[in-house]
């Protein structure tokens, strides 16, 4: 198992936000995590990469415990996070953003080319400041920057947030394409339909707890998921 989380509890100050979550991700999978606003998805991801210290429980990457490591060690476990809101270095160029992503990668110059081939939109804007990119382009940049670390596993925090449906579709297509790099994906999203369409398995999170888990295809037809996350309008966009 690439990632294993056992009974993880964490929060801010004295407020517990994640109440004992267990989950796992196997190599090569795309695993989704669905949940509404304030469910604690971002908090869980922060704990996974070390930005937040877990209160209880274990986080294992390739069977090795990582929950006591500082956040800057995360990429050396071959785990990269594409954070919520993209967190681009706004006053640095696209190229510099990518190079920073490969801070520990000796082949970063080569990999910049690889990323630019993958995201031609970025190639056109290579000398532009990150902050001047559109939301969609910034998401591509955040994705590219994370790939620069040559991760085995990518954690994505709501990559479609704030994007127009067309752009969101493009982002999801890129995530599927990560499979040919051999990158395992843990995809946190509110867009249940699009996530379940590309995921192998998924978890559903509510107020800090996992309330459902299963094969993506099964969850797609689960009444509770449908009611809570798919809504009536989703077909218009996704078909």
């Amino acid at each position: 198992m690439l990632l294993q989380v056992k009974n993880l509890r964490c929060g801010y100050g004295s407020l517990e936000v994640v109440h004992g979550i267990s989950l796992h991700v196997c190599p090569g999978e795309i695993v989704g995590l669905l949940g509404g606003n304030g469910a604690g998805k971002t908090t869980l991801l922060k704990a996974l990469v070390g930005l937040l210290r877990p209160w209880r429980g274990e986080i294992l990457v390739n069977g090795r415990p990582v929950h006591n490591q500082p956040a800057w060690r995360c990429v050396s476990n071959a785990v990269a996070l594409v954070p919520e809101g993209r967190q681009i270095f706004a006053d640095m160029t696209v190229r510099e953003n990518l190079l920073i992503g490969g801070y520990h990668n000796a082949y970063r110059r080569m990999d910049v080319e690889m990323v630019l081939e993958r995201f031609p939109r970025l190639a056109e804007r290579i000398h532009q400041l990150g902050g001047t990119l559109s939301g969609g382009e910034q998401q591509m940049l955040a994705l590219g920057r994370a790939l620069m670390a040559r991760p085995k596993m990518l954690l994505l925090d709501e990559p479609s947030m704030g994007l127009a449906p067309m752009m969101a579709k493009e982002v999801f297509a890129e995530i599927v394409k990560l499979k040919d790099l051999g990158v395992t994906v843990f995809l946190v999203e509110q867009n249940a339909a699009a996530t379940l369409a590309i995921a192998d398995r998924a978890y559903v999170m509510e107020t800090g707890e996992i309330i459902l888990e299963g094969e993506a295809a099964e969850l797609m037809h689960n009444a509770a998921v449908k009611r809570a996350y798919l809504g009536k309008g989703y077909k218009e966009i996704w078909e």
């Binding site: 990469v49 930005l51 500082p70 956040a71 800057w72 060690r73 995360c74 990429v75 050396s76 990269a80 996070l81 954070p83 967190q87 681009i88 270095f89 706004a90 006053d91 640095m92 510099e96 190079l99 920073i100 992503g101 801070y103 520990h104 920057r145 994370a146 670390a149």
Partner: protein, 297 residues
């Protein structure tokens, strides 16, 4: 000396002092960008650089003494960060700024005890007072060229470092978005230490080159800190290159103020600039209102 010669002389002396303010202002910016702290002990690095070099120059060749002083002060800067700021990171920025003021007082007192209250100076790096050149009627001492040259090299070095080396880019990344920098695998605590090492080292270098002209004295640091701070604010906080403009402007304005104000009031110029900028344009000449400004405090 004619009127125009006098003006040129003021201008030159302003540029010379101003370039030292510029280095102090660059130091302010480096540390501010990496840590959010305004380091009011910045002027003490300049003083220490001069003091240590003067002492070492007694038994070492001048270039070696200067180099050793710069390295010593740079390491001291790093040590201060490790001992005080890394440990106290959880405290508010305001607390940390007050600690820098405390540190500057302690360093001054320590300097008074290690050395004394006498004024010292390094010898001219090359030539002497007599070998001044005459440029359009103004006397330019060779040391002035050393100062301007050193500061120019510092500015170019810094520009190349921040723009074209991975470590420099990483430093900018830390100030741009610390969490994202951490996620890229950058140890931002070490970057903060590095910003102190750099600022202290550059300050010490400035302290050495200026010593033959303005002399070195244990009390010189606090004045420099205020002037460098004014320069940093004038240029726009968060931009080391704008600090150069700010420093030169403060230096030149100060030099010309001598012609209108009594000599005892030269220090007022920097304060006047500081207050004026804070009231009128708190983001500085080259900053943008959306960017960082001292209003955050």
């Amino acid at each position: 000396m004619g009127q125009s010669d006098l003006i040129l002389q003021y201008f030159l002396s302003g540029i010379t002092k101003g370039s030292i303010y510029a280095v102090v202002a660059i130091g302010f910016n480096l540390i501010y960008s990496a840590t959010g702290i305004l380091n009011f002990a910045q002027g003490e690095f300049v003083m220490l650089g001069g003091m240590v070099a003067v002492s070492l120059a007694f038994f070492l060749p001048l270039p070696v003494a200067v180099a050793a002083a710069v390295v010593f002060v740079a390491l001291l800067g790093g040590l201060l960060e490790l001992v005080f700021f890394r440990r106290l990171r959880r405290h508010s920025i305001l607390h940390l700024v007050i600690i820098t003021i405390g540190l500057s007082i302690i360093i001054q007192e320590a300097a008074l005890h290690v050395w004394d209250e006498k004024v010292r100076s390094l010898p001219y790096f090359t030539g002497n007072e007599i070998s001044s050149m005459h440029l359009f009627g103004a006397a330019v001492s060779p040391q002035v060229l050393w100062v301007l040259g050193t500061v120019a090299v510092i500015v170019v070095f810094l520009h190349v470092f921040l723009k074209y080396t991975m470590r420099g880019r990483a430093m900018r990344a830390c100030s741009s978005n610390p969490d994202a920098a951490l996620l890229a695998g950058i140890n931002i605590a070490n970057m903060r230490t590095l910003s102190f090492v750099l600022s202290a080292g550059l300050g010490a270098m400035a302290g050495c080159v200026i010593s033959p002209i303005t002399l070195t004295h244990y009390e010189m640091g606090s004045g420099l800190a205020i002037k460098g701070f004014s320069a940093a604010i004038l240029g726009g906080l968060g931009n080391p290159m704008a600090a150069v403009l700010g420093g030169l402007l403060v230096g030149v304005l100060e030099a010309f103020s001598v012609s209108v104000l009594p000599a005892a009031y030269t220090d007022v110029t920097a304060f006047a600039i500081l207050l004026l900028v804070l009231f009128v344009r708190p983001h500085g000449l080259l900053g943008t209102p959306a960017g960082e400004s001292v209003r955050e405090f």
